[in-house]
C-alpha cells in the first residue's frame, strides 16, 4: 500500500513535468478595448499553433499595478514566462539575473530580427548591454513628437500647420487673441515631460537631444540651449488654460476634438480618441510632427522573456516571440493601437494617413540620425533617471522658476541620481 502511494506521488510529479506542448504565462495590462482585441489575435494564433496560454492581466495605473505584481513574482522566485517591459528597464532586469539564458534568441536569429528592425530599436531588445542575445520582442513603435490640431479651428483663424517653434508661438497667440485656448495640455508630470522632449528635440536638434537626454552630459544639460528649451516651455505654459493642472491626457485631446482648444502635443495614442469620435485625419484634424530637423522620438512597447526551467514554457516563449514579431500580429495589433509595426517590412496599405507619415518618417529619421529614444516614456533612461528629469521639468512648468535655474536644477538632479 505504502509503495503504491509513493509510486502514485512519483507519477504525479513526473507527469506534470513531462512535455505537453508549448505553454506560456503572460503578465500584461492590455485589457481595454482595442488592446484586448489585438491581444486576442495573438492568443488565437498561439492556440492554433498548439500552445496553451495562461493569461495574467493586471489592470490599473497604466501598468503600475502590473509592475508591482511582477516584482512580487520575481522576488518569490517565480517570474511569469513573459511580461510587458520596455526600454532600458529590460537591461535592469537582465542585470538582476532573472532573464538569462535568453530562451528566445535562437528564434530571433532564425527569423532574422536583425534585418527586420532598425538597428537602434533592435539594440533595445538585446540583453548584456544592448549587444548580446535577444531577450525581448518589440510589438510596436509609438511616435511621441506629434502635434494634434483641430483643422476647423486652424482654418477659421488662418493658421497653417506650423513648421518652426516660432510659428507655433505665433499660431498660439492668434488663437489666444481669438478667445480659444491655444494649447490643450494636461499638467501631469509625464505629460509635461512629453512636451518637453518634443521641444528639446525641436529647438536643440537631434545631437543636442542625444548628448543631454541619452548620454546625460552635464555641460549639455547646463548649456544655453537647455535654457532656450525651458524658455519655450514657459511660453507654452502661457498658452494653457487654468484647468490644466492634473488633467488627464484624453480630456485634453477631447478639448481639441470639440474645438475648445487649438492643438495638443502627445504621442500617437491620442489618435484613438479622434478615431473614436469619428474624426478623419487631414479632414477634421491635423496630425503633424512637432517642428524638428527630421527627428523622431520613439517609444517601443516590448515583451521580455524571463528564465524558466520548464521545457513547455521555454517552447511557449519561443512560439510567442515568433508570433509577436510575425507580420500578421504586428499589423493587426498596430491597427488597433494607433502605433506602427516595429518590423519595417509590414505593408502600410491598411493604415491611416498619420501612421503612414510615421512609417515613412521613421525611415528618414533612421537614415539621418534623427531617430531618438523618448526619455519621458522610459526609452532613453531607466526609471530612476527618468523620474529625476521629470521632477525638474514638471516643477519648472508649474512654477515661476527661471529657465537658468531649471537648467541647473536639471543637471544637479541628474548628477544626484548617477
Amino acid at each position: 500500500m505504502k509503495k503504491m502511494l509513493i509510486a502514485l506521488i512519483a507519477f504525479a510529479f513526473t507527469s506534470t513535468s513531462s512535455f505537453a506542448g508549448p505553454k506560456i504565462e503572460v503578465l500584461h495590462w492590455w485589457t481595454s478595448g482595442g488592446e484586448a482585441a489585438a491581444l486576442k489575435v495573438l492568443k488565437d494564433d498561439f492556440a492554433a499553433n498548439g500552445g496553451e496560454w495562461l493569461d495574467m492581466p493586471v489592470t490599473g495605473g497604466g501598468g503600475d499595478a502590473a509592475n508591482v505584481a511582477l516584482k512580487a513574482r520575481i522576488v518569490a522566485g517565480d517570474p511569469p514566462s513573459a511580461s510587458q517591459i520596455k526600454g532600458p528597464t529590460i537591461q535592469e532586469y537582465d542585470q538582476e539575473g532573472v532573464v538569462a539564458p535568453y530562451n528566445i534568441d535562437p528564434i530571433a536569429q532564425s527569423e532574422g530580427w536583425d534585418g527586420l528592425l532598425d538597428p537602434m530599436i533592435a539594440a533595445v531588445h538585446k540583453c548584456q548591454n544592448n549587444s548580446g542575445p535577444y531577450c525581448a520582442a518589440p510589438v510596436n513603435i509609438h511616435r511621441i513628437d506629434w502635434m494634434w490640431a483641430n483643422k476647423a479651428v486652424f482654418d477659421a483663424n488662418g493658421i497653417s500647420v506650423p513648421t518652426t517653434w516660432d510659428e507655433v508661438n505665433a499660431a498660439a497667440e492668434k488663437l489666444q487673441a481669438a478667445g480659444i485656448i491655444p494649447f490643450a495640455h494636461g499638467g501631469q508630470a509625464w505629460q509635461d515631460a512629453t512636451v518637453f522632449e518634443a521641444v528639446a528635440m525641436g529647438i536643440g536638434g537631434n545631437n543636442y537631444y542625444k548628448n543631454c537626454y541619452v548620454d546625460l552630459k552635464e555641460t549639455c544639460l547646463r548649456s544655453e540651449t537647455t535654457v532656450k528649451v525651458f524658455d519655450q516651455m514657459r511660453k507654452l505654459q502661457g498658452f494653457t488654460d487654468e484647468g490644466s493642472p492634473g488633467r488627464d491626457w484624453n480630456v485634453a485631446t477631447g478639448m481639441v476634438i470639440e474645438g475648445k482648444a487649438g492643438f495638443q502635443i502627445m504621442g500617437d495614442w491620442a489618435k484613438g480618441e479622434f478615431t473614436a469620435a469619428g474624426k478623419v485625419p487631414g479632414v477634421d484634424y491635423y496630425c503633424s510632427p512637432t517642428p524638428s530637423n527630421n527627428g523622431y522620438l520613439y517609444n517601443v512597447d516590448s515583451f521580455i522573456f524571463y528564465k524558466t526551467s520548464d521545457p513547455d514554457k521555454q517552447e511557449g516563449q519561443k512560439l510567442l516571440a515568433k508570433l509577436m514579431m510575425g507580420k500578421n500580429f504586428q499589423k493587426v495589433f498596430n491597427l488597433y493601437k494607433g502605433s506602427i509595426p516595429a518590423r519595417l517590412d509590414v505593408s502600410m496599405d491598411e493604415f491611416d494617413k498619420c501612421a503612414k507619415t510615421s512609417n515613412s518618417d521613421i525611415k528618414t529619421a533612421g537614415a539621418g540620425g534623427g531617430l531618438v529614444p523618448s526619455f519621458a516614456h522610459g526609452m532613453a533612461q531607466g526609471n530612476t533617471m527618468k523620474a529625476a528629469l521629470q521632477d525638474v521639468i514638471t516643477e519648472h512648468f508649474n512654477s515661476d522658476m527661471s529657465s537658468v535655474d531649471a537648467a541647473n536644477a536639471l543637471a544637479d538632479s541628474v548628477l544626484d541620481n548617477m
Binding site: 508591482v68 522576488v75 538582476e96 532573472v98 526609471n383 514638471t394 516643477e395
Partner: protein
Amino acid sequence: MLKWLEKNLPKIVMAPAVGLIGWFVYGFVLWTLYISFTNSKILPKYELWGVGQYVKLWGSRKWLIAVDNLLIFTVLFLIFCVVIGIILAIFLDQKIRAEGVLRTIYLYPMALSFIVTGTAWKWILNPTLGIQKMFIDWGFENFTFDWLVNREMAIYTIVIAGVWQSAGFVMALFLAGLRSVEDEIVKAAKIDGANLFTVYWKILLPMMRPVFFTSFVILVHISIKSYDLIVALTQGGPGISTTMPALYMTQTAFHKSQVGLSAASAMMMFMAVAAVIIPYLYSELRRENAR
C-alpha cells in the same frame, strides 16, 4: 490532557492570529528596515550598504517638500477637524429635534473612501469646472478660487477635503463623550449660576481630555499615512508641490525603481507614527495598570 487543553485553549486559539500578525506586520517591518540599509534598486538586494539611503533621502528636495507638506497638513487637519468637530458636537448636544438625521449627515462623509472624496473635491475646486466657474457664470467675473492649480495653495485644498471627510468623525467622538457626562454635574453647575458657555468651557471640555487624546492619535496617523486623498485630488501636483511622504514612498519604489530609498522613507514614516502612538499606548496601559 483535557485539563491541559482547557488551560491552554486561549493561547492555542490566539496563536494563528499572533503568528500571522507577527510575520506579516512585524516581520515585514523588520524586512523593510533591513532593505533600507541596502542598495536595492529595481528589486530587493540583501548585501548591506550602510546608511546611504537615509543620507540620500534627507538630501532629496522632493522628500523635504513632502515633509514640509506633511507638517502643514497635519497641523491644519488636526486643528480644523477638532474645532469643527467640537462645535458640531456641542450644537447637536442641545437636545434638538431630528438629531439622528443631522448626526448621520455629518458622519456620512466618513463612509466614503478618500478616493471618492478626493475626486469629488477635484471637480468642485477645479477652476474651469467647479466653484470658480459657478461664480463667474453668475456674473462675478473677477471671482477667482484657483487653489487647486496654484502651487502655493494646493496643499490647503487637501486640508479642505480631509477636514470635510473627518470632522464628522471627531464630532461623533465628542458627542459620545459629552453624552457620557452625568446630568447632575451640569445641573449642579447651573444651580451655581454658570451659563451654558461656562458649563462647556470650564466643565465639560476639560472632562473631554481622553477624547482629545484619542482624536489626536487617530487624526495624526491618518495624516501621516494619507496617500489616497492626494492621489485622487492632485497626484502630488501642480509639479511636485503637494507630494506627501506616502506618495513619495510608492513613487520611489514603483516608478523610480529605488526600493532601498523607498524603504528608508517608509522607516521615517514608521518612526513618525511610532512617536505618536507609543506615548498614547504607554499612557493607556499605565492607566489600566493603575486601576
